[in-house]
Symmetry: C2
Subunit: 286 residues, 2 copies
């Protein structure tokens, strides 16, 4: 496996392969790789001739009060996983190479970014949209894979690629979960043993929402209440949001008439967790 | 010469050539081609194996009170020039293909866009930055050529390409002028015969600024005054701005210590004209 740090070298590697008709797959990550990333890497390995994984903890998508400094950076462990999974290039640009002096261009996807994570984290999505555009420019992949765990991000990246004609096929892969249902996340290591135990509440809450939809409930307010009840049983957990939304626009719906996404964010002590479930609604046979 | 309207067909054409190692040159235009465009096209023709000219009057870079509706669109004339100059593809996307329903992504280059044209035309440069990013995505050129006439735009595009790692080499070519010195512009046709006669005042004003710099003047205020005096002799012309600025940041300088750009914008009746001159400052041999 090649480790490339220079953006120019990365582009040269990719351009050389593109000229030979090689299909390049790309999994952008912030490192601290877990089985969710592994599932993206495996899928990309199956679908593409050449495979690049980037590891870059992007400072511009963190807020000033967020966990940039303490975000885990187990680089040897990450490279070992990439090697195991047959990654061709581990691309590890420095912050200085990504954002040199004078850097100023920003990409925004305002309607998708407005709600939910965008409300809780004001500059998060312009940071994501800008770094994804940059990474695509450097890596020049044919295909890139993202996890459904960051649902709003995956919708944003799809809109971005369409709007800016970036010519990268985006694939979104299902969330990988721990045995109890907790969505895998690099931030789960912040949880104490007790918090870890209670963290599954978010998934249980989303499952409760999906369950009432399956029993025929169509009123979003009632569905939200069912989700919230699961969380409020845990007095030490606070709800950031629990919503029933359109899976394309992310706007909240008042009545469930077709596929929806249940999005949730909670806080357990100082740790913030997000998760989501897509729920298909069968046509009523009344 | 091929006329391509579909963005997907444009990308397919370019990708096919790129795989063969063909160097693609690109001249993005809003049509109404004049000798300024012709100079860009000729230079691109000399430098590149394949040559794409786009013709797209981009609505998002016009303000609500501006001349989008009346902007000239002499498409047969434009295609004839492209044919004469050996252009391979005339790319003519529709506004619907560029900005389909749901389109929302915006690219901004805030520090470069803040002053001068950006002040006079608030959303102009985000429109330019976004459409250039999109056109580069569709055309996938190795090299793109821009005219110095739109100096701030040329600086913005260079910053954009660097910041977003778009991998396109940007060339800026000197302004082509009418015999009396008026910078060629598609908007010059808006001028009445009398206005056309007086329009050269802007160029004369910039020349006056350059002349006092060459005589040793280094105080920007004095230089601006020399430029303004030329324009105020014409009572029917109003000054939007006349400035002595850094050619990289576009920030105004107070003292001329190295190369500067003299930027100007004036109004003659309902017509707004811009022009600029780069002035190198020789080291003083005092």
């Amino acid at each position: 496996m090649k480790i490339i740090r220079s953006p120019a070298a990365m582009t040269a590697w990719s351009e050389g392969l593109r000229r030979q008709g090689v299909t390049i797959g790309f999994v952008p990550t912030m490192g601290a790789l877990h089985d969710g990333h592994r599932s993206l890497i495996r899928e990309a390995r199956l679908q593409c001739d050449a495979l690049v994984v980037s590891i870059f903890v992007n400072p511009t998508q963190f807020g000033p009060q967020e966990d940039l400094a303490k975000y885990p950076r187990p680089i040897s462990h990450d490279r070992a996983i990439c090697r195991q999974e047959g990654v061709d290039v581990c691309f590890e640009p420095t912050a200085e190479a990504m954002y040199p002096a004078g850097f100023q261009t920003t990409v925004t996807v305002p309607a998708i970014a407005r709600r939910w994570e965008g409300e809780a984290r004001p500059h998060h999505f312009s940071g994501v949209a800008t770094v994804v555009t940059k990474l695509f420019g450097m890596v020049r992949p044919h295909r890139a894979l993202f996890g459904q765990k960051d649902f709003q991000q995956s919708v944003l990246v799809q809109q971005l690629v369409k709007d800016l004609n970036l010519g990268v096929a985006i694939m979104v892969r299902p969330t990988v979960r721990e045995q109890d249902g907790l969505a895998m996340s690099s931030r789960n290591i912040y949880l104490s043993a007790d918090e870890r135990h209670r963290a599954v509440t978010l998934y249980q809450s989303l499952r409760a929402g999906a369950a009432v939809i399956r029993t025929g409930e169509r009123n979003a307010k009632t569905i939200r209440l069912a989700m919230a009840q699961v969380v409020t049983q845990q007095p030490t957990i606070s709800i950031d949001y629990l919503t029933v939304s359109d899976p394309f626009t992310l706007e909240p719906v008042s009545l469930v008439t077709s596929k929806v996404v249940l999005l949730g964010a909670i806080r357990l002590g100082s740790v913030r967790l997000i998760d989501n479930l897509l729920v298909a609604v069968p046509h009523r046979s009344s």
